[in-house]
Amino acid sequence: MPRTLKDNLKKNHLTGDGPPVTSDPSEGFDMVNPADAQLLDELRRAASQFDPPPPAVVEAARSSFTWRTIDAELAALVFDSGVDRPVTALRGEGPRLMTFSSSGLDIEVEVANLGSRRQLVGQLVPPQAADIDVRHAAGTTTIQADQLGRFRADAIGSGPVSLRCRLAATPPARPVVTEWVPL
């Protein structure tokens, strides 16, 4: 909560013709006029009262730190049919398709909804065996991709998911992790 805002306002807001007052330093904007600053102050109080970040959201943000991976290659989400397909496409006509891409490996994933659970069916390109950690809210589920690079995970909870692929290649390669995507 801004601390000096009110003090600044009391001197100026009644007349509104004083010189512009520099707002609270935490405001970050220069030269907010006093009446605007006060209105924003009230909005912030209302937001803090009616819609603050829920404790569970703050806790999830904190614990996100424990999911970071050291020395892994990031595979970026380059296609998501849930977002990238034409707006005119018929809705709900199939599973969601996603492609993650890193320099040496693409990961294609099909996501089907089974009630509140998600089923993942995927393919590593180029095809190869790997251990795949499916990282999600409830923890980590480890599955195997076969020699043809095919893998499948059932009953993953909804929410953000990331795959960490530990390739069976020799010589050993760095693991590849996908960007987190909510499913």
Partner: protein, 187 residues
């Protein structure tokens, strides 16, 4: 807290494995990420997914953010916006229940007039979308920097002051039209 938490130091500490640095980032920017998701009309559950995804993405990319550390708030606001838009698109694709768009301010008791904060929140909810969105992000505590607000809304930084002034004016006009003087309490 200091007037300016040094985000650059927090990012460096977190990237080096210091969880206190990370917690400092969550404290400084948690409300910005949450407010951005809510500003796009996401339900609390959807907003929670967007917020968590945004933070997980940052955790994953901490090691790769070699430059622009002081732009971390911009990165977070931009990522939260993109993930909010993704939620909206997949929601439509899934036929999902659009959910509760705005937090309901407590229902008015019929006998007593609502608290000023309640009225204020209702006026905010009924603003045109671009203003509702802008003021919701701007309502984050601690307040976002201009560049962060621009990233959350996909505006040019140079356009932010005018957009903000216009939305505050609209807000004040609507408050006045239902008989509330926005700054009456200090008079």
């Amino acid at each position: 807290m200091g007037a300016e938490i040094d985000a650059h130091d927090l990012v460096q500490a977190a990237a080096a494995g210091d969880s206190h640095g990370w917690d400092g980032l969550v404290e400084r920017f948690g409300a910005l990420v949450w407010s951005t998701a809510r500003a796009y009309g996401l339900s609390p559950d959807e907003g929670a997914d967007v917020a968590q995804t945004t933070w997980l993405r940052l955790a994953e990319q901490l090691g790769g953010l070699h430059d622009g550390h002081d732009r971390i708030g911009v990165w977070l606001a931009s990522t939260a916006r993109q993930e909010s838009l993704r939620q909206l698109r997949t929601r439509v694709a899934d036929h999902a229940d659009p959910g509760q768009e705005e937090p309901a301010a407590p229902a008015a008791a019929t006998a007593t007039p609502p608290e000023p904060e309640v009225m204020l929140w209702r006026v905010l909810r009924d603003l045109p979308e671009h203003c509702r969105r802008l003021l919701r992000v701007l309502s984050a505590v601690p307040p976002p920097e201009q560049e962060e607000l621009a990233a959350a809304l996909d505006l040019k930084v140079a356009d932010v002051p005018a957009a903000r002034a216009a939305c505050l004016e609209e807000f004040r006009y609507r408050m006045a039209s239902i008989g509330i003087k926005a700054d009456a309490e200090d008079s």
